[in-house]
Amino acid sequence: MTDVVQAPIPMPRMAWLARLKGAPVIPLVILGTVVFCAVAGGLVAPFDPNDADLDAAFQPPFWAKEGSWSHPLGTDNLGRDILSRIIAGCRVSVIVSLYAIAFSGAIGALVGMISGYFGGRVDQVIMRLVEIQMSIPSIALALLLAAALQPGLGTVVVVIVFTYWTWYARIIRGEVLSLKTRDYVAFARVAGVSTPVILLRHLLPNIMNTLLVLATLQVGQVIIFEASLSFLGLGIQQPDVSWGLMLSDARQYISNAWWAITMPGIAIMLTCLAANLFGDWLRDRLDPRLRQM
């Protein structure tokens, strides 16, 4: 009945791995190492991170005059192996990042989608809340929450989620405001598709890229946030190991053991830098409009 139409030419679909082509290699290697250490740190670490050996206290790293290869990055005031502790600290960084990002992303995305999609009164109320939340200094909030709850990994996650969900909510709301005017959303409404289905099928997949980019960019901030809280004694507690805690422990001996504070510092710096560089690449790749954020 209709005129002839040529069959469409299928385009080869990119394999998932091929999408990483062009990704910055060094950041990827660093992040990979951190994740690996978090999962299998016990297998590669030379010592138990909490093994104290007072005879071996304050050993400098291997390249220093009195250093040795048995403790490549030296030991701290209790003679604990710094390399092993850094490796063990990966676990906390990764776990905190995962939970904090998952929750702040999920809450922020949900609130942002609702706010953007429904608009009107709902949007106004939510956005006021976000503004109030954003005007509270996050460290004060952290102190308050940590005091109310008990210091520990859970608290760290709660504080970070509390601080960061607004960031997701604002950006996702903006995204949804433009997505909801797309013709395919209008079509779905015309066809009588229910609102939850529209949100899930037409909006969520289209904000996934943005979410992914935001999440990667958040990693660095989460790690620093956790370190700061632990440094202040509001975060991770002994015997768990975290980079922030290592900084805090080493602070008193900074004049006789510079390495004890420098090594975890470098670990934090490298991981954040790697996460940010990878996040930048991902953003340029998936969602260049976010560059203004």
């Binding site: 005129d3 002839v4 139409v5 040529q6």
Partner: protein, 327 residues
């Protein structure tokens, strides 16, 4: 066409765009001439290479990717393809060859007043003092029928309607008396009544100035009402050229015929449109033979080789093995 030397003569022009996906053969062997005072309509559907042909003349191709790979473009006998970029920018662009683009908003700078933008070329390139440049701007705005231009020189582009903006762009284009005017879809963004004003304006300018005009359009109605001669472009090549009456009355290329049968016309109520099956070929990997072959009702095995251009009437030539034959 007249026996006089043409203003513009293009021969064997090939402009390719190098992309990651492959080489887009946007213009792939185009011959064209435009005489003084003549309006040539370059018609064809989107992506057929009309704009690239126009941009090749000014060498305003996509940066890094677009390149003229073969052919010659002569303006009043002077070869443009070998002209250094600097000379082209100084003597040709905006001066001997001017351009009107489809979207007037992109041709006007939103942060400068109309007066600054229209008088600028007179001052900085034409070397006129301020007052005289202003007078020249008023004069040229009057020619494109902007009401009381002396009062509106201080206004900004957004304070004008779409039709007025397009006329201001036209004023800037004709200001310095170009030999050739390239108008790329100058009326496509306009409403019918405003389009009619623009068509009337272009027709008057052509009579007054004696410049050659290349009118790029996909609208056969606009082409018919403005042009002396028509060149039909399909997939990077010109498939038919001839005097406007010839092309519309006795189209000889199967594509031209199909196109004319496929568009609704006023007064043709109830007749079923004759659709052209399929879609244009990709310009990355165009077919070796006739590019219309996949959609052509007259296709024969000879069409696997690219058809030679043959004359079917005075100044009327067609690139088709079966030019002029009935279906």
């Amino acid at each position: 066409m007249t026996a006089l030397a043409p203003v513009l003569a293009i021969e064997g022009l090939k402009t390719y765009i190098h992309l990651k996906r492959g080489v887009v053969r946007a213009v792939d062997g185009v011959d064209l001439t435009v005489g003084a005072g003549e309006t040539l309509g370059l018609v064809g559907e989107s992506g057929s290479g009309k704009s690239m042909t126009g941009l090749s003349i000014l060498r305003l191709l996509p940066k890094g990717a677009g390149k003229i790979v073969a052919g010659s473009i002569r303006l009043d006998g002077e070869e443009l393809t070998t002209l250094p970029e600097k000379v082209l920018a100084r003597d040709v662009r905006g001066r001997r060859v001017a351009m009107i683009a489809q979207d007037p908003m992109t041709s006007l700078n939103p942060v400068f007043s109309i007066g600054d933008q229209v008088s600028g070329p007179f001052r900085y390139h034409g070397g006129l003092p301020r007052q005289e440049a202003r007078a020249a701007a008023i004069d040229v705005l009057q020619r494109v029928r902007i009401p009381s231009p002396e009062k509106r020189l201080g206004d900004y582009p957004h304070q004008f309607s779409g039709g007025q903006r397009q006329r201001i762009v036209t004023a800037m284009a004709i200001g310095r008396g170009p030999r050739l005017l390239i108008a790329d879809e100058p009326t496509t963004a306009l409403d019918v009544t405003i389009q009619a004003q623009m068509i009337a304006l272009l027709r008057r300018l052509q009579q007054e100035s004696g410049a050659g005009i290349i009118l790029i359009t996909h609208d056969l109605g606009v082409a018919a009402s403005l042009c002396n001669r028509i060149a039909v472009m399909y997939a990077g090549r010109i498939v038919e050229t001839g005097p406007v009456r010839e092309v519309f009355r006795n189209p000889a290329h199967p594509y031209t015929r199909a196109l004319l049968a496929a568009i609704p016309k006023l007064g043709s109520r109830g007749r079923r449109l004759v659709a052209i099956p399929g879609q244009p070929p990709s310009l990355i990997d165009p077919p070796a033979g006739c590019r219309f072959a996949a959609r052509c009702p007259l296709k024969v095995s000879a069409c696997d080789a690219y058809p030679q251009t043959t004359a079917v009437g005075p100044n009327h030539s067609v690139a088709c093995w079966r030019a002029g034959e009935a279906v």
